[in-house]
């Protein structure tokens, strides 16, 4: 019998409610924890997730006891507690000082080591080790859409990135307008796209599927519409796709590029079957109108582009 004299069914119903609440919470937490950067599909994102989880665990090991101690000490030494010893003049202890400087110092030394190694291992401009030769993709952020140029395949896409699985992809990125950030959360590392400059990024995706991509740096009124889809295809299907796209759709030359740069948002994916050679470098140099001319290597803008710290 319930000691509080409640009707058994009432007791049961609260239990049912709490069970539902528990299940709902765990489902919520599970779905919350299995998305975006917590569900990486490639080695870069996987390594970053590992560092994220490990560092959090290291810090939680110190933070949780500190939080418990805060509440416990404050409560035990409350004014009304007769059992607590009042030491009104206790204000220094060399041993404790050593510990309170020591704990954060050791933690930060450990995490600093992780940061140093991680920064070098996962440097965006560093090529990924792989048996497969890398695919080259050139990325241009426009107002407000993404242009992906495949220089070796001679095709280009808008708001649709297609890459083969288990193949390193070497990205060169720039912006034809203001700053943006190229980011596919499940691939890993994001990087700035900056006008008249290039950045470099190496990513790989191992699981076929379609993933969300976005701009992660505010770029004006059409910014929320800068989403794109990143599609990972099995290697043979990628080759078929690239073959099939060649010659299909329009040609990306100076004229159609000028049309493309007009501000638009929420743009549907499209494909260009041919791309004028050297378009990306012409965009970086801001001389697309002279695309038919060779780019003089000594032009100041190109010099600046190569002065980008990433070595782009």
């Amino acid at each position: 019998m319930d000691p509080f004299g409640r009707h058994p069914s009432c007791f049961r119903s609260t239990r049912v409610v709490s069970r539902i609440a528990l299940t709902a919470t765990s489902i919520l937490l599970l779905t919350a924890c299995n998305r975006g950067i917590l569900d990486p599909v490639g080695p870069v994102g996987q390594a970053e997730k590992t560092i994220l989880i490990n560092s959090t665990a290291i810090m939680l090991a110190i933070i949780i006891p500190t939080m418990i101690a805060t509440v416990a000490i404050a409560w035990w030494f409350r004014r009304g507690n007769k059992k607590a010893t009042y030491r009104p003049d206790w204000e220094y202890s060399g041993a404790i000082e050593m510990v309170v400087w020591g704990i954060p110092l050791l933690t930060i030394m450990l995490l600093g080591g992780i940061a140093w190694i991680g920064s070098h291992d996962l440097e965006p401009s560093k090529p990924l080790a792989s048996a497969n030769p890398p695919l080259r993709v050139e990325v241009v952020s426009l107002d407000w859409k993404w242009l992906f140029i495949y220089p070796d395949q001679g095709i280009a896409t808008v708001n649709q990135l297609v890459v083969p699985e288990k193949t390193p992809v070497s990205y060169r990125l720039t912006s034809a307008t203001v700053w943006n950030v190229f980011f596919v959360p499940q691939f890993g590392t994001m990087i700035y796209t900056m006008p008249r400059m290039t950045t470099q990024l190496h990513l790989q995706a191992d699981r076929p599927g379609v993933y969300d991509g976005l701009s992660a740096h505010f770029s004006g009124d059409g910014f929320p519409g800068m989403e794109f889809k990143a599609q990972v295809l099995p290697t043979d299907q990628f080759a078929t796709w690239a073959q099939g796209s060649r010659g299909q759709g329009g040609a990306l030359d100076a004229a159609s590029y000028a049309e493309l740069t007009k501000p638009t948002s929420y743009v549907k994916p499209m494909t260009y079957g041919t791309v004028s050679p050297g378009l990306f470098d012409a965009i970086v140099a801001d001389r697309v109108d002279q695309l038919h001319l060779p780019i003089p290597q000594a032009a100041p803008s190109v010099e600046k582009a190569s002065a980008t710290p990433s070595g782009g």
Partner: protein
Amino acid sequence: MLGKLSWDAIPFHDPIPLITSLVVILAVLGIGIWVWRKGYWPALYHGYITSTDHKKIGIMYIVLALLMLVRGFADAIMMRLQQSLAIGASQGYLPPEHYNQIFSAHGTIMIFFVAMPFVIGFMNFVVPLQLGVRDVAFPTMNNVSFWLTASGALLINLSLFIGEFARTGWLAYPPLSELEFSPGVGVDYYLVALQISGVGTVLTAVNFVTTILKTRAPGMSYLRMPVFCWTSLAANLIILAAFPVLTVTLALLMLDRYMGFHFFTNDGGGNSMLYMNLIWVWGHPEVYILVLPAFGIYSEVAATFSGKPLFGYRSMVFATMVICIVSLMVWLHHFFTMGAGANINAIFGIASMIIGIPTGVKIYNWLFTMYGGRVRFTVPMYYLIGFMLTFVGGGLTGVLLAIPPVDFVVHNSLFLVAHFHHVIIGGVVFALMAGYTYWFPKAFGFTLDERLGKMIFWCWFIGFHLAFMPLYVLGLWGGTRRMQHISDPSWAPWLNVALLGAVIIGVGIVLTVVQLLYSIKTREQRLDVTGDPWDGRTLEWLTLSPPPHYNFAVLPDVHGEEAYWIRKQTAIKQDALIDEPDYQPIEMPIDTPTGVICAFFASLCGFAVIWHIWWLAILGLVGAFAVFVWYAWQDEHEHIIPVEEVRANARERRRIRMEHLHSLSQST
């Protein structure tokens, strides 16, 4: 004649700013008429507006901060509402050009016109009292500083009614903020308002560094200063180092926009990466300008309400100065994803983490201050414990963001937004609310209602967690910031929880107003007659509440780290006050309208520059300079308070103190 200004600048077609404008104009008029009808105008003019009294200026700063908090919060709740509504097929109720102004204004106002004036208000009110002196080093300049800050706040809010505000985010990154991409007056409002208020902030720093270094009570050596004074010194040193960088950076952007220069443009050899570096050379230290004084407030609260000296005082001072220096060396962690290379990223990442060490030490020192104490669970103590529980979490996510490979996936995301609100609300805002409750009786002679105070605390504490924990989750999903529209419907429940949290914080802000009005109405029940309502330990509790203009009839002699506590314990032991000193006439600075007139001309000049009304800009500049010359020409800057008045006041205070002492010795 009127530059770019025309009737088009008034938002007749846009109901939200139009109605807000009308309500604000009516409210200002209404308050003005009420003040005039009640006959309060002379008291307001002589007691506050033209006052050179650091306490009155401090109060004006805090009033400004609270008013701007309401504005900044209105922006916040509009953003949360938009993000809860504009999901999937819906575009919500705010078009991008309006939403983008709101998040830009929210950030700018909350940092420059809420957090900064709040912190500077406390420095003004508390530092001279804690140092045992009568005013700051340059009292008139102090008044000018305040009014220049108010002038900046005025211009920012004017953008709501005339023209538009920046749509670029609170740091106005070029090239987006260049004329090519932002041709309107919004960015100009931003630049000019911050330039004017920035002058005020730098003058404040000059004033406080001088005050703390050069004017302290006899016997108050550096290592006897209360920790709040130390953290204020550190914060003002950072201002002196960092704010000129901001001024130059914004000036370069103004040259680009006004005179066709190419510092940060896409063409003409401009380099926008330079702006990113410069703005964060100011921007990261700015965080410590806010949080160091907050740490100072927590230190005062911890010692007072634990009934113990602060644990590890020297360690705290050392930790403060370490943060002061290292804070200037970590700016690059704001753009690890720019591709600066592994060595640079790693070095700046580790430098950023190093700040976590002295900060961690501070947390433990507050913990050991409570250890062995008699902890009184007053409202400021709620905030301290709430802060200690919250801030360690914010520190955790901060260290995560400082690890470059982790930052590569959460940079600029909602995770970042959650992190900096975590440390700014959990660290700075909680401290400001604690300080507001703690020093209110010193300023006005009665305490605030405790029950309402605790309700406000719970609103902030619960509201903050509900509003920002969901953003951590969305950030881990890859969600980025500044989105006027969200396409993924599965975000909705999390955004709705965040909205609920914002509403709860809103209830807390409303209750703050209720608490103030209620406490004024029932003040007779909570009068602070002794000047020492909390059994304090530092010199501000030695004088009456509210203190006389000159603070102390005779500058106190300081004999140890806790100047007032030692004096109080000696008096209790001997059951007698110290012998009555030889009172002297006191020389105090006179009131002056210099500040308010100067700021009036500065506002005119600023407005004219924004709208390209060049004759008015010149008039404003000449006017401001003329006021300065007129002030410099004055012969009389001080007036003498006669010795009789000083003696009478001091004797009255001694009588109250004796009574209080007797009641204390009877109770122990």
